[in-house]
Symmetry: C2
Subunit: 352 residues, 2 copies
């Protein structure tokens, strides 16, 4: 049995009975029943996921995986491919958006190289699990081999498990990879069967001509590769990315350890689709942090039946939305844990 199968086997159903108990507790707190709306929903689900009556969210971790994409050669991004590596160094120095927002949320950031096109300097805080020097150009053939797809998922599982030893109560997903909205659009199109035009956006900010080109390239990639929506690893291999495979592995691993996962935006959403394709049960372990400006993201959320926590017109990726979502999730758990009950506070309950 390989690592992916081992991980999937450990994923159980969430504890619905304990969720009812959590709602009872929420209803006993000094507030009108249900008046904290989605905070109550989130707290309840975290109880069900963790299997703990009053879980704590002390250890918060964002996994930000970087990788390059062969399809960048087709001019699908507004930025040069060199930016992937440059941004990894920026993550390691603490200067990127994800560093600022993770710090605000009190979360650690685990930065990993899953397939950046150059050899990165060994640096403290950088996990190196390189599957290759970027994927191949999916417009010309499969992005990676099936073996590489499996390896990328296993790498994500390993990164999670290594970090789990340091304590993890909730995770967020994040990524960096020039041209990776192209891979995310391809994955979304394959699983949801929506038209390419309806799930392809401007990524980092391409113009109209660039968007037209991106759509043409995506159609070509799907036509040539014929990814099989019934086989998530085939989809990942043909039109995915190493960081996307890695995140899919991390999502599966988190679920197998009963850890809630806050999915960031569009590319993280594509990784969620891969994880869901491998094991549908993971869906119950996921929160959608926000609704991205990238139009395909809405399609993913609808497909997975996830309702975003935030809607702030974000489109940066890196895990930035997940960091903010984790802040709200933590607030919800503090409500469950720290509020007084009607009884303890001597507050009268509602009439009749």
């Amino acid at each position: 049995m390989n690592k992916i199968e081992q991980t999937v086997k450990k994923i159980t159903n969430i504890d619905v009975k304990l969720m009812d108990k959590a709602q009872e507790r929420l209803d006993s707190l000094t507030k009108p029943q249900g008046s904290l709306g989605r905070l109550e929903e989130i707290a309840r689900l975290i109880v069900g996921i963790s299997g703990k009556e009053t879980p704590e969210l002390k250890n918060k971790v964002i996994f930000t995986f970087a990788s390059d994409h062969g399809v960048a050669a087709e001019g699908v991004s507004a930025y040069p491919a060199a930016v992937t590596a440059q941004m990894v160094y920026n993550f390691l120095r603490g200067g990127a958006g994800i560093n600022v927002l993770a710090k605000h949320a009190g979360a650690r950031v685990v930065v990993a190289d899953l397939g950046v096109a150059e050899d990165l300097k060994i640096s403290p805080g950088l996990v190196i699990k390189k599957i290759g020097y970027g994927t191949k150009n999916m417009a010309k053939g499969p992005a990676m081999t099936k073996e590489e797809a499996i390896k990328s998922i296993c790498a994500g599982i390993e990164i999670f498990e290594d970090e789990f030893a340091r304590g993890i109560d909730i995770i967020g997903t994040g990524e960096m990879g020039i041209a990776n909205t192209t891979a995310a659009s391809a994955i979304t199109a394959v699983f949801t069967q929506e038209k390419i035009e309806d799930i392809t956006g401007r990524g980092t900010g391409i113009n109209d001509a660039g968007l037209k080109n991106k759509i043409t390239i995506l159609k070509e990639a799907i036509k040539i590769n014929k990814p099989n929506p019934g086989d998530a690893i085939d989809v990942l291999a043909k039109v995915g990315g190493f960081e996307i495979g890695g995140l899919a592995g991390t999502i599966l691993a988190a679920a197998s350890y009963k850890v809630p996962v806050v999915i960031d935006g569009f590319i993280s959403g594509a990784a969620a689709l891969i994880a869901y394709g491998i094991e549908p049960k993971v869906k119950d372990y996921m929160f959608a942090a926000h609704c991205s400006v990238e139009i395909g993201h809405k399609t993913i959320l609808k497909f997975l039946g996830l309702k975003p926590i935030l809607d702030l017109n974000l489109r940066l990726g890196e895990g930035t939305g997940a960091a903010l979502g984790i802040g709200i999730a933590e607030a919800s758990i503090k409500i469950l844990r720290e509020m007084a009950t009607f009884k303890n506070a001597g507050v009268s309950e509602r009439g009749k």
Copy 2:
């Protein structure tokens, strides 16, 4: 010149030039331009409000004002009026929703009695500025005199100014008062001219018969009192509440000190309407924390042209949504202050 006039006189236009400068800085940071969406909008506006190029949000304060409402005698709430005082004690002991969420946001809570129906025990942390022992029943006549309305606004100004000495960089508004959604609905109806049915909700959770009764009472209150939408103090006096007047004063005071104001839900929104009726410039100093379940809140947001930061189906009040909104506002300012620029980080800018 009275205190209200003095305060209003100090409210200036926000600094639009500095906001352009803030956007320049945001555009120089290592992210695609505009990719942090509303975080960028919020940061820019806080720069314009504060008049500082890189403001800090160290001192965060939620003002939670409590008061009783004579109209509670009409059975418009699911809870007995005694709950107002009981909840104030809960605030002071730290057991309420606002305590938990303010702590999560790193904000202080200032609890003030503007008109609770009983004498509260003097306690550390309780500000007593009682205008009366609850308002009169607006279904029978004006809720308060014009003098009391002015006094409640001045009390809110004074509470802000006293707290300002301890340091304030951003504030949130909050309230507690059994039956105060009835007052908020009346204020909303008068200013926005919408039908009572369209802006009246279930508050803490009344049933269909209760809602029908609440609507009847509201129509009666407006018919009897004829509040003048051109005179905000008249509206406050006839169908408002002491805590609503207090919050209106605090909002005006914050604007006069160039402090951004995060407005909580429906009742805070009604206070914002009063403040706006007194001085329309305050609108530029306001953020809408969230969109409440109370249907009238959407009408207020539309009327004031405010777009809520969060939408989490909250309807608790107390400032709970404002506390979460302040967390997002702080994140936005950290982006402005802490992210690396393309130049400093050695990251390539976009092509062409």
